[in-house]
Symmetry: C2
Subunit: 343 residues, 2 copies
């Protein structure tokens, strides 16, 4: 409760070691339990779900959402393990940071056409499409429910490879994040650093498949499973046009970095004052990620080529001054920049 009151993060190391998931979950078990159940998967060319993509030749930027489709869980699992094998074979172990997700679209032509798969629907999926796995985790975290005076609004399952990066963003939720397989690497910024990430209303676009869509019979012969074979994605600007407020600058990257990336653009007068907190969640660790904290998340896989986590989202407390003053401070920050922070 003191950490919630202060809006400050903490980690309980090994706090989730007693979750049955920690003992049970591995590639074989997940496949057996989920079998051919159809699940949602986010597909991107670079592992860049919900991110900023900088258009070539100074034509601005887009807020890019992944191509979302449904396929049997076993297919998703296979794709993710394939992704991780590709990651291992093409990248040296020392480059498992953010650089690979920051390739600009211009560089796309030169890259492998292989796409990146991430099971990451954040719609309470552990009580819907992943309900078969729900008995392996507690339905509620007792200390969190006491501190936050609430039961979870959503409980989510995340399965991906080290190719996927979640760009800096904030959520209007209190978050308990639990690592089950592999590692998650968080970079955290408090809400007051909104002025450092240069949050801007950015035109929305969504990845969409290019080429043939191939409908195949399900493996069990019922013909009800649908598998979409996607070979290439291109960006489509959403219609009607929408603008989403989103961080456009990543202050956690060293300014001396030689890699050219859109994340190095668009700093504000205050970006150099940012003091990012970097933490790694090991298997069994729990992170309290307070509401409105900006977080960037990358991941490392276990020996089976999997990174798997669950998280619990709770309503934030709108009853005090936190929500309104955080918004006021963010708004004043944006106002203070005028157009100086624009790309």
């Amino acid at each position: 409760m003191r950490y919630v009151a202060r809006n400050r993060p903490f980690i309980v190391r090994q706090g989730a070691d007693h979750f049955p998931a920690r003992q049970n979950w591995n590639a074989k078990y997940l496949q057996e339990v989920m079998r051919d159940q159809t699940v949602n998967v986010a597909i991107t060319p670079h592992g860049n779900a919900d991110s900023i993509v900088r258009l070539p030749d100074g034509e601005g930027m887009l807020f890019v959402k992944p191509y979302e489709t449904e396929m049997p869980f076993s297919t998703v699992l296979q794709h993710i393990q394939d992704n991780e094998r590709r990651s291992k074979s093409t990248l040296s172990p020392t480059t498992t940071d953010n650089a690979k997700a920051e390739t600009t679209p211009k560089a796309e032509e030169g890259e492998s056409r292989k796409l990146v798969y991430y099971a990451q629907t954040q719609n309470d999926n552990l009580r819907s499409e992943y309900a078969s796995l729900f008995s392996d985790i507690p339905s509620s975290i007792r200390f969190a429910s006491i501190a936050l005076d609430a039961e979870p609004e959503a409980i989510n399952f995340w399965l991906g490879s080290s190719l996927s990066i979640t760009a800096f963003h904030k959520d209007n939720y209190e978050n308990i994040y639990v690592q089950i397989l592999g590692q998650k690497h968080f970079v955290l910024l408090p809400p007051v650093e909104g002025v450092c990430v240069n949050e801007r209303a950015v035109l929305g676009a969504t990845y969409a498949p290019v080429g043939r869509e191939q409908r195949e019979k399900g493996q069990d012969g019922t013909g009800e499973d649908v598998e979409l074979e996607v070979e290439e994605l291109h960006l489509q600007i959403d219609t009607p046009q929408t603008y989403t407020p989103f961080p456009t600058h990543d202050p956690s990257l060293p300014s001396s970095s030689t890699s050219i990336s859109h994340h190095h653009y668009n700093p504000t007068l205050f970006s150099s004052l940012s003091q990012p907190i970097k933490v790694t969640l090991e298997e069994g660790d729990m992170l309290y990620l307070p509401a409105l904290w900006y977080h960037k998340v990358s991941q490392s896989c276990n020996d089976e080529g999997l990174c798997c986590a669950v998280n619990y989202w709770y309503d934030l407390d709108f009853g005090g001054g936190f929500w309104s003053t955080a918004g006021f401070v963010r708004g004043i920050g944006i106002m203070s920049l005028g157009d100086k922070g624009e790309d």
Copy 2:
């Protein structure tokens, strides 16, 4: 803890009924226990300790502090009871609100020369000059120490009459305020309403006695007690000159009020948006007054002509974003006014 986290006040009605002070304290008991102990007393012409006084003819305003001196407790008690008798004889019962404290210095000539006495040193006096009374109250409030994760920094004794008013101000403390005798009438504004009270750096002044100072022998013949006979006070600007940030507008007064008072001056663009909370503490009630809330306090006496309270101050939590964002919001408010809010 939830209320502290939200920075929101509450009252525990009859929460202090078990304090021995509630049974023990009355004029006779206080006089017996304190006997001729010397105590600090704040003396003002209008009951206006720590307040804004508007100078005549548009010559600005002063932040005024009371004349502080020491005298035997029995003398202070007598003065306070005399004050209350005067209050009863010259004011109708329906005017026991703030109006009487808002007399401008210009009106002073026409008033009685009788001064207003208030025992209100806020320096942990219950563990120093009023230590003889300390055993009548708990040395710690258990729920508060748990919620605030602290023991009291200061525990104060307050004894005054209905002639004394404490003007709107804020304290950098968490506060548990406990009414023992009579009533306290609080008007409360959250920290975000700093822009409504038009907090300004105001030139400091202190009341000082006019005329003879008469040194008398103590009643017990030891000759060590000092009694200062004060007949009239005048304002002296502090040297060196100091400027204290202090609310210069009282948004809780009805704008339709016909009384001319400095508190009606100096509104800001936002003053009319203020939503004051008015609560009365009855004998035995406890108020949690959160850190940085503006509060104005007036009082009503019991049948013996006394209003007596104790309060517990706790360090506020500087560990989260509250302190810094509250200061930022207040600062932006002042900046936004420019000179428009100046008198």
